[in-house]
Symmetry: C2
Subunit: 271 residues, 2 copies
């Protein structure tokens, strides 16, 4: 993997993180998308424009042809797949952002010939960047601290912290029932409001399980590389490793993130 490309992704993610930080609680301007729980703000759009500009200009200056560079983005209607594709969530945790909860992130995955090879996630409020490269490991770098490798450790279920998302009106009873079953066996359930950042915290041994029944490729792409390189994995609710469908970028996913050796214990609660 070309280190210059991960540097470029980091530059795009951190500059968009700064846009998010600058606009935090400055405006409550937002639009509903599919419903009142699915919203977009002008900051999502600014962040996405910044990322596209930094990545396209940077890739071209590294010698890549602009015609070989494609984007799969939350705020775009049409995705055109190319040899090199960036999978971008310019602001994961828009509801948090618009409500004033300082927990959200910028997510950029990178794929060559439809194979994910790198992921960068930036947390604007804790000045933290997570970066994973296929075959080269995952790392976290917080401002003022040393870069640190991410490696999942084994914990007993009674000390698990579980990221428990609610997704959409059709899945909500399933989810509440599942969380009620798992609650007595673990240390705690949290719903912090950014799936992508939760997956990074899973890679960093903060969460032990992440459960979500309504997410998209751009929520998962970067974090899936970071998690995999740390020793974790995304699964579907049958326990099979999650596979992305490149031909349907708007496909909704149901995911379990955890250590591979924990998935059967997790699924005993979810099904």
């Amino acid at each position: 993997m070309n280190q210059q490309i991960t540097n470029l992704m980091t530059s795009a993610a951190t500059s968009s993180a700064q846009i998010i930080k600058n606009n935090f609680r400055k405006t409550d301007d937002f639009k509903n998308k599919s419903s009142h729980i699915d919203i977009v703000t002008p900051t999502d759009v600014l962040s996405q424009q910044n990322i596209r500009k930094v990545l396209v200009e940077g890739m071209v200056s590294l010698g890549y042809a602009e015609t070989d560079i494609g984007f799969v983005e939350e705020e775009s209607k049409v995705d055109v797949l190319k040899k090199y594709n960036f999978i971008v969530d310019p602001l994961d945790g828009t509801s948090n952002f618009s409500s004033g909860i300082p927990y959200c992130c910028v997510s950029i995955g990178f794929a060559v010939d439809q194979v994910l090879v790198a992921g960068v996630v930036a947390d604007p409020f804790l000045d933290t960047v997570y970066c994973g490269v296929l075959g080269e490991g995952s790392f976290v770098k917080k401002a003022g601290e040393e870069k640190r490798q991410l490696l999942l450790s084994n914990k007993s279920m009674s000390s698990w912290m579980v990221s428990a998302h609610y997704n959409g009106l059709d899945k909500v009873h399933d989810q509440f029932s599942c969380y009620e079953r798992i609650y007595p066996s673990v240390r705690g359930l949290r719903n912090l409001g950014s799936l992508t950042l939760d997956l990074c915290l899973l890679a960093d041994n903060v969460f032990d399980v992440v459960l979500n029944k309504g997410c998209y490729f751009w929520d998962l792409a970067a974090a899936s590389v970071i998690l995999k390189e740390a020793g974790g994995q995304l699964f579907d609710y049958n326990g099979a490793p999650l596979a992305f469908d490149w031909n349907d970028s708007k496909k909704k996913y149901l995911v379990v993130g955890c250590r591979p050796d924990a998935v059967s214990d997790v699924l005993s609660f979810t099904n």
Copy 2:
């Protein structure tokens, strides 16, 4: 209210916040208290020792008799009520702290003749201090930013963000059922893991409702002043303003925090 005492409380809270920040993710040493979901760490104890030292030395240097100063503290077995009482939670969000989720706080309430007159809450990770004084308003001060007054604004239910806690095994079915009922009507539910900090975010128009069925005087004392001065209120689940029992400092409370004019809407979901 003596400004020197709120300065002292702020000094105690921010120095303990620094202890928490310094010890974050440095150790996973903790002990179970009543169960695996109720834990204490050496950092809770260090924070509490620091607060008691700063407050006692400071009050004595301001001319108050040490024999007039009492403490109600989470980590103490015995509380002795005096003319001046500090109600202290040295680390609200211990499970977050021990799991590595950077969302917790230090909470110090102050009462004269068993009337709460001031509250200070410090967030270690966002370098933010909330302070409320009876009759003088509530304010938030973030490092590098101007002090800002807290005043609740009115929002429609579809844009509400609800802090939805899970508390203990006996209440869990009630809570999940309630949250499942409220979920379709609001923007989102979050469980961030620190009741006290959630109440400060309520006072700052981030949360619109806070629901909890298992908390204590020290979780609520400081935040109740901050919330009240911002125009909010703590209620019980019958809609009556919450009253603290000074003769039973270990009493468990069930609370709804919100704008007074929203409580009947909230209770239509909870009961």
